[in-house]
Symmetry: C2
């Protein structure tokens, strides 16, 4: 976690500051701090007082919530350009989950006080934050419905499609999820066990829909996954 001088240009990529003029952006930069986080490190922990708003510049961060009995759930993965920990700062003041770097990261952060000042001076920032948090709320609500009403296979399909959209990299013959993702991780995203995930992926692999590796998944036939996720009439594999 080395503090560095922040680069003004990186803010252009953040939706939080969309619509600000150059002067406001400069002001924003002055109140920010950059940090490097190496793979495996913790950025904040569940239960810590939420004193910092974070934005990820580069790398990948996993947000994990732990229940009373130690059961874990992957809330989401954060990619470059996304905020994290922001909602906690303005709601409750305690981080509701852990943030772990799953790759070497560059992140930028503001103190709660500094962000408060920014928002009061530039309502656009607050409104952008509302937009971001609102979309996230909708996404989580949709996942809640999925977990509540859909079968495991479909939930896994949805999770992979979501990951591909968010963190997919085109490779020959498919889309690869470009950060280390274990079966256990997928299980914790979909509310099942790593055994079940492994079985499902094995089945899909036999049908040529995905290709798995160690902490790695490549989607070979995305439309087939969509068919599973949406329960469209399934294109039968050549019997």
């Amino acid at each position: 976690m080395t503090p560095l001088a922040p680069d003004p240009d990186v803010l252009r990529g953040l939706r939080l500051f969309a619509g600000l003029d150059a002067a406001a952006l400069a002001e924003t930069v002055r109140s920010a701090q950059t940090q490097r986080v190496e793979k495996g490190a913790t950025i904040f922990s569940q239960g810590d007082p939420a004193t910092l708003c974070h934005a990820l510049i580069d790398g990948r961060v996993k947000i994990v919530q732990t229940g009373a009995d130690g059961q874990q759930m992957v809330v989401r993965y954060i990619g470059p350009g996304e905020m994290f920990g922001t909602a906690a700062v303005f709601a409750g003041g305690v981080y509701p989950a852990d943030a772990l770097a799953v790759a070497d990261c560059v992140a930028i952060h503001w103190s709660a006080a500094a962000m408060g000042v920014l928002m009061e001076r530039h309502p656009r920032v607050a409104m952008n934050a509302l937009d971001i948090v609102g979309r996230r709320l909708q996404e989580v609500q949709t996942r809640l419905r999925e977990v509540s009403t859909e079968r495991v296979e479909r939930r896994v399909a949805h999770a992979l499609l979501r990951l591909a959209r968010q963190a997919g990299r085109r490779v020959e013959g498919g889309v690869e999820i470009d950060f280390p993702l274990s079966r256990q991780d997928i299980a914790e995203m979909t509310g099942t066990t790593l055994h079940t995930v492994s079985r499902i992926l094995s089945g899909w692999e036999a049908q040529g829909i995905v290709e798995g590796g160690r902490q790695q998944v490549t989607i070979r036939r995305p439309h087939a996954l969509v068919a599973i996720a949406e329960d469209l009439p399934r294109p039968l594999p050549p019997a």
Copy 2:
């Protein structure tokens, strides 16, 4: 849905406008409209363009999301003083769920444009909204973890406790949830079936923990429910 002249005083109870001075509150009132909604009516529907921010003054509103195959999930119940539909207005522009009045209601609303102007002029409003939406995000994330990792019985216990906290009315010998709530509704809140909910409530009723009726639940021994929800060593019923 009769439009009425809004009453300035009702805004005092809304967290969205906490911290505003009298002049700002007056301005807020001018851009608002009040409506009466009778039990059973729909306030907005999933998929509709989100043109209005709502606040409930009196009554009870059920927010229900419907999946592709018609599976329904109760996202939350809204009580007096709470906002609804706000996140959608600033994120995506489409309501992600239906809002149904489960009792006769009085609600107040602002157009998206008017609310945008209010937020730009009074950043506190935007920040309050961020607080509200952020808390709701945290709550839904917690429910997501629950549904993903906990057994049905515990989820039902959590749901009842949450309802009691939000909409409980003390009566002799317990806490009654003060709006019509069917077994089906509880099932849709917890991701199970009405049969399973009915069995669980019957079991609890036999132990004197709850008392059920038609679309009605009274919690007789809240601490026993907490014990189930948290998996504390269970106070055995007299064998």
